[in-house]
Symmetry: C2
Subunit: 208 residues, 2 copies
DNA sequence: AATTCCGGAGAACAGTTGTTAACTGGATGA
DNA sequence: TCATCCAGTTAACAACTGTTCTCCGGAATT
């Protein structure tokens, strides 16, 4: 996977990552469409023109951030949804996964929630594509379940989107509760768990 | 309700509304956090300083837009959720209401979807408050239903939030499909209907 | 009819923005 | 070792931003 990079390429990737990190930090208090290129380079400590060595524009940077934020998440989602044990345990595992991810990468989660409907079209599209892939993968997992007997492809995808959207809503709620009391965060977890459970109950009786 | 305004106050409200309309139009291609005050006044055709006669800042304008976009929606939601006939018909009515509203006020819907998780805190809070009120009202309607027998207040509110979030997701999908083919828009409607139906099925079997 | 009020205009302010061009100096490959 | 490459720098550009202060003219009040 990892090539042995020369000193030059390593340095380039380092500043590129620094630009992305700085942007992500700045985006906690604004939207991508108001993020200035000079603002980012100033935070990193490089000249404004250095930005162009890595990105064509801040929108371009945003697309790269989408890849960073969601690209590595696919195996985790698959692993979480798979799990052949009880449905209740699967839900708890999913909620815990989300809570843990929000704790570990709050800026990434905030960025995705913010720019999913944000003012920069290419970024919206990148997020939509990634979420669409999530839905496809969840669908593939659901299809292998015994409960999927008799379900049409269309209905499976419908349910998958419901789950994916619910995951995002839950992540956003955990994010809001990040600086709140532990009891509040626990309450968010319980709320999300019950909502997922209700959806799963609907799934179980869908074919009645 | 409506006072008879003097010429002066009428003119003031007129330019205030013009500022809000221009801002809403400009926000179709960017986020509020990048909306400049001069940009808005230029679009209206007034001096930049005139802006301050109406709003302290663009964030302030945003809060006013939230009120305009969501404030008048409460009675509609109540009326749609009430309706004592079949659950299936109620869902279809709700989806139609959403589709119609998106067609009638696309810029408002886009604004809410965009700024709900956007970069301007006061606006986020204003939207959160309004959506919270929606959830409370939906909950009150659900509580009067016969199916609410044995439901805890907490579970009713859980379900209400699920419904409200689902409405927003649906509105956002309709928005994306606004310029798509009529078949695509119909597909969005069917998807949303089935998702709402699945949630309603989950509701029916919640107490099992 | 005389006075106050006030929404909007005008000019000016110091800072900021994206983008260009030409450059430097160390890593790279022959 | 020497020529090439290229990430990052410096300087300059016109255009733009939010905000202040001063002023105007017509509506509102007395």
């Amino acid at each position: 996977m990892s090539h042995i990079l020369g000193v030059r390429q390593a340095q380039k990737q380092k500043t590129r990552q620094a630009l992305m990190d700085a942007a992500l930090a700045l985006l906690e208090e604004q939207s991508l469409s108001s993020l200035g290129l000079r603002e980012v380079t100033r935070a990193v400590g490089v000249a404004p023109t250095a930005f162009y060595r890595h990105f064509r524009s801040t929108a371009d940077l945003g697309v790269a951030l989408v890849e960073e934020a969601l690209g590595s998440l696919h195996p985790m989602i698959r692993a979480t949804v798979t799990s052949a044990d009880s449905s209740g345990e699967r839900i708890e595992r999913a909620v815990d996964l989300i809570a843990g991810h929000v704790n570990a990468y709050p800026a990434h989660v905030r960025f995705i929630a913010r720019e999913r409907h944000g003012g920069v079209q290419p970024v919206r599209e990148a997020i939509r594509d990634q979420l669409g892939r999530f839905a496809d993968e969840v669908k593939a997992e659901l299809a292998e379940d015994a409960e999927a007997e008799g379900w049409s492809d269309d209905d499976l995808l419908m349910l998958s989107h419901l789950y994916v959207d619910q995951m995002l809503i839950t992540a956003s709620l955990f994010l809001e509760a990040l600086e709140a009391s532990p009891e509040d965060r626990e309450r968010v977890g319980l709320l999300a768990t019950r909502q997922m459970r209700l959806i799963s109950i609907g799934r179980r009786h869908w074919l009645d």
